[in-house]
Amino acid sequence: MEKEIAIKLVNISKRFKNIYANKNVNLTLYKGEVLSVLGENGSGKTTLMNMLAGIYQPEEGEIYVNGELASIHSPKDSFKYGIGMVHQHFKLVDVFTAYENIILGLDRKTSKNTINEIKAIAQRYGFEVDLKKKIHDMSVSEKQTVEIIKVLYKNANVLILDEPTAVLTPQETNKLFNVIKKMREDNKSIIIITHKLNEVMEISDRVTILRKGEYITTLNTNETNEKELTEYMVGKKIDLNLERLRIQATQPILEIRDLNVLKDDGTVAIEHLDFYLRGGQILGVAGIAGCGQKEMCEAIVGLRKFKGSITHFGKSIVGFSPEKIKEIGISMSFIPEDRLGLGLAPNLSITDNMLLKTYNDNKGIFVDRTRGRKEAEDLIKRYNVVAPSTEVPVKNLSGGNIQKILVGREIGTNPNVIITAYPVRGLDINSSYMIYDILNEEKAKNTAILFIGEDLDVLMTFCDKIMVLCHGKNMGIIHTKNTNKEEIGLMMTGALDLTQVKKEEKYGIAEDSRLSEDEWKKLREEDQKNEDREQS
């Protein structure tokens, strides 16, 4: 029997400034099916769905709903076509009750019946919800329930769920999947955005794969397997003209045991993480965005509370202030998604930004601008920064040049540990290579480097070892020469956990640690005592 088409996207393109977030994407959604949209970070899944939801407008291409050309200019248009989206970051008003959130934007009159109608929907799909409860008193799963009811109450026939399981426990995920199955029985169409392969296999009928904003393919779930999906998702290995310096690594400089960090919202960011960094070695970190990379970096450099032990040349640095950590030679450069915001003040000049890092060494109350200017000039010369002068605001420079300044400034302090996250984010090839060269130079000086990256090809060629994180857990640490892209892809999505497969291998525990196991034990006990004291 031929299935009816609910939604068809034809050659959709969307640009942000000059970068394509989606390029010629095609997608077909049938009535009464669950379609997974699979892809790595930045593959344009959410952007594509936001166009269906009316948040963004496509630059090119057509959207057909029930076979008719649809024009969706706002979320309101989107409802009209029966499309509803549950965003990854919930769109709920915290100080409102569930009921108030559900009726937001409703055109029709509300009455006593409204509550009964909402309750009927909840009952039909097996939701439990207290409509009078305020959102800020709810758990994540309750909030999601409210979001889904909200969409259903607006008579959506097409539901888009953006990473719905990212914040749920396995039990809650099961519950959600039962709801999704019930909706499918009701002939509703569901699009679920995800990067978890096991969930794709479990819940969806078909799967559409995007990579770097482009449409790759659509497969029937029962005709494929996790390995094939990973290959499509990460793509074939590309040979990069990148050099991996081979030098003798030193004894571990930074050693981390049993690191536990929480996110801002109190959920787990990193749990029970062990790893170490050797001088003259680059440890790459692979993982889907938001798997605790940022929180891990912040914990190490003293910007975030954590539980666990961190030693630097065999001495504990737990409880050190960020200034102290900087002083002993640990530097961090983190390039956030918007590039500005962490580490550089966009409205200040290059000179001022150089001074931000070294103002502490300044004697007296006046700023030593001559020195700052000299440092800025050195940096511009050394890294070929294109800037009219040292006094232009940083925000007027191009992305590549901004990043060179940030990375260059951090390295300029002669650190012995460099933690760098996404240093080449948004850079063109040449600028990227410049950054890699800078890092390789540091590596040759026996500096320990932690490189958090996005591009697997780069990680594979550039790093000596790769640690894979999946939802804050260590999936294993492997030498890049002993692995391949598919294996890492499987680990990133949680389909393969080396720490479980090879239990005898102690991942992240150095054999030639600077401390004996007894000393570690003692240190751990001390740290634990401090943690307990802090809690009480």
Binding site: I55, S74, L92, D94, V95, L104
Partner: protein, 320 residues
Amino acid sequence: MATFLINLITSAVAMGTVFLYGCVGETLIEKGGNLNLGIPGVMCLGALGGGVGVTLYYMIFENEIWFFLILFSLVFTMIFAMLGGLIYAFLTVTLKANQNVTGLVLTTFGVGVMKFFGKNFNLITFSQSSAIFKKFFVGYEALGDFGKVFLSHGFYVYLAIVLAVLVSIFLNKTKTGLFLRSVGESPQTADSQGINVDKYKYSAILVGCAIAGLGGTYYVFDRFGGQGFSDAAIDAFGWLAVALVIFSTWRPGIGILGSILFGGLYVLPYCIEISKSQIKLFAMLPYIITVLVLILTSMLDAKNSQPPNSLGINYFREER
């Protein structure tokens, strides 16, 4: 003692009305997510509009007819105040200019415009009309103290209280009020639910400014006896109105009581015999109390007494 208290409360209610108008208007605007620091300027513009209305009235009518005089003052006050609001809304909502800077500019602008054009009015008609502004209920004297405290005021006092109650009901009981609050709390959420964020912000700013402007006219023609604009410290009352919004934790109902408290603190030094420097000390009290309220609500982390979550932040849909 009793007479003293009765007089104090009566003056407090009358004075507090100036703050109450500003407070109710600003609350409405802030609930839509816009922090309008132009309220003092808007109140000045409103007062100027009131002056224009009264002047026009005397060009048409010869005798004082209560209804038409009040009507003229109301209509023109609102028009002038809304023009100020329109400037603010266009800059912050359409052009996404910084709200604080825009608000402060509007205040400077409003005060300047009032002082500049305010010199040219016929002050004799102003003081004539003032008697009408102060008159509303008749025969309240027969009711003794009760009549004095509650019924001796001009029409604008009762209008302010009615507006405060209406805005309170609008915000908390109506669907449109709920939608407006959602815009102030999380414009992303409101937008994703098909609520036209810009439309709500514009409406809230215009209506809010119209209400706030009435405070200026009330002060000049009722409290100040129609003595013109050059010595009227309306902008200072505007800042107290903004402080009252915080004090009332964005609830117009509490704003009514707060306005009487603020009004009482303002008139108290004039009712007792103290030196000039002590008057200044009393004048600080409303601000000190507001700071205390801020400290208390922050320390208690009272979720329902917090400013709207997106207050002061402009909304762009395609921002990422």
